[in-house]
Symmetry: C2
Subunit: 242 residues, 2 copies
């Protein structure tokens, strides 16, 4: 093995060691209440050294989510491997996502920061894009399941698989955000059983894909220019379904 190879590997080990320390400290105290000094101490390096491996505090913190993405992906993979029908798998996946957020709450906190946009100006777009790419794996898995459900005839929807995944993801995310033990801010959400709540919502959506119904306008943005402004509900033609 050449020297440069070994150096490379050693560098990677240092990086990992820093990540380990960062995980310990950030997950114990939270992002705001952790200083780079604390991380440095945890891995017995000088503060300056951390900056040789990570551009900023935010980038270091953000890097921790990569593990989280991997964990979620594995959990989802297991769920998909179960002997269920494709449409059942989708509900199971919502549950899996929920359970991930409960058992890996600190990782979910980073997810939230990304989705809320807290980290936007503070981290290279490249880094953010890289995270996006990693997250896409999970979406693609789900997309596959949706495609399967359509093939099996369980779904009659006119939406594209990708769109269905987005809907499920968004609604599930919102549900978890609002009522998961460790997240919920609005008092009233404390009264519901979080997992049931999340699954009730996912379930409603899934049911709605079984039949192509009148609500199913295409969701794409292609024709956006054609109408001057979007119609408000009462301006649209009455719809049979309600």
């Amino acid at each position: 093995m050449s020297v440069s190879e070994r150096k490379e590997r050693e560098k990677e080990q240092r990086r990992q060691e820093i990540l380990r320390a960062a995980k310990t400290v950030f997950f114990r105290n939270g992002f705001e209440k952790t200083s780079m000094e604390m991380v440095a101490e945890e891995c017995q390096l000088a503060k300056g050294t951390l900056y040789l491996y990570f551009k900023s505090k935010e980038e270091l913190y953000l890097s921790l989510v990569e593990d989280g993405i991997r964990i979620l992906d594995e959990m989802m993979e297991k769920t998909i491997a179960k002997p269920l029908r494709a449409d059942e798998k989708l509900l199971a996946l919502a549950q899996t996502y929920f359970r991930f957020t409960q058992s890996h709450n600190e990782h979910f906190t980073i997810f939230k920061m990304i989705d809320v946009g807290t980290l936007n100006g503070k981290v290279d777009q490249e880094k953010l894009d890289e995270i996006q790419r990693l997250r896409m794996a999970a979406f693609e898995r789900m997309e596959e399941v949706v495609a399967e459900a359509i093939r099996q005839g369980a779904f009659q929807t006119t939406h594209k698989p990708r769109e269905i995944v987005m809907m499920l993801w968004a609604a599930t995310f919102g549900a978890i955000m609002m009522c998961a033990d460790k997240c919920q801010q609005l008092d009233m959400f404390k009264e519901v059983h979080a997992e049931k709540f999340v699954m009730r919502i996912a379930s409603a959506l899934i049911e709605s894909f079984r039949t192509a119904n009148v609500q199913e306008e295409p969701l794409g943005r292609e024709n956006e220019r054609k109408r001057k402004t979007q119609k408000t509900v009462e301006e649209t033609e009455p719809q049979k379904s309600f």
Copy 2:
């Protein structure tokens, strides 16, 4: 008018003036990139003075949301006043919420910070509770509409109105969060028409309340103790609806 009364009023005016300045500066630059010095400059006061009216930077920023809550509440009120059936109103309310987030994006950013919990350790719980109370008004309005829908027989659900509102709120929030122009982080969400997307999700949920279906376990937490662990999807009895 007594002197003390006038003083009181002047103090309130100062407070308002500070809020005005804070709004200008925070909404232009964002929370992180705004310093208290900048706010002070905008309202031509010394930095120290700001702290006579607001406990911290976070509290000042958070106070700005009160306007946002009022605006949303008014928008919702108008929507509810429209000549629609109760169930139609619920969909219209989702749209209203969406439009609020688009036209008052900065206020929505504060909503997000609250819901994500970014402000938690940094602001008095009291202050947060006060905000909660204000937000409840909107929930209660919606609850009223749901109750109406149930009374009219449009909904056959076994859920409580409050629960239905929570579901709609959570799902709509998630949908907006993921795909609204100014928020979306995941690239794929750029491809959908945000408003249609949001309404498609709300619509699916609303449809699901029309009939009491097998998914409708009670969502309360009362009986939580009875089962050791929550069942995963494939462990539950097969359900007719899928």
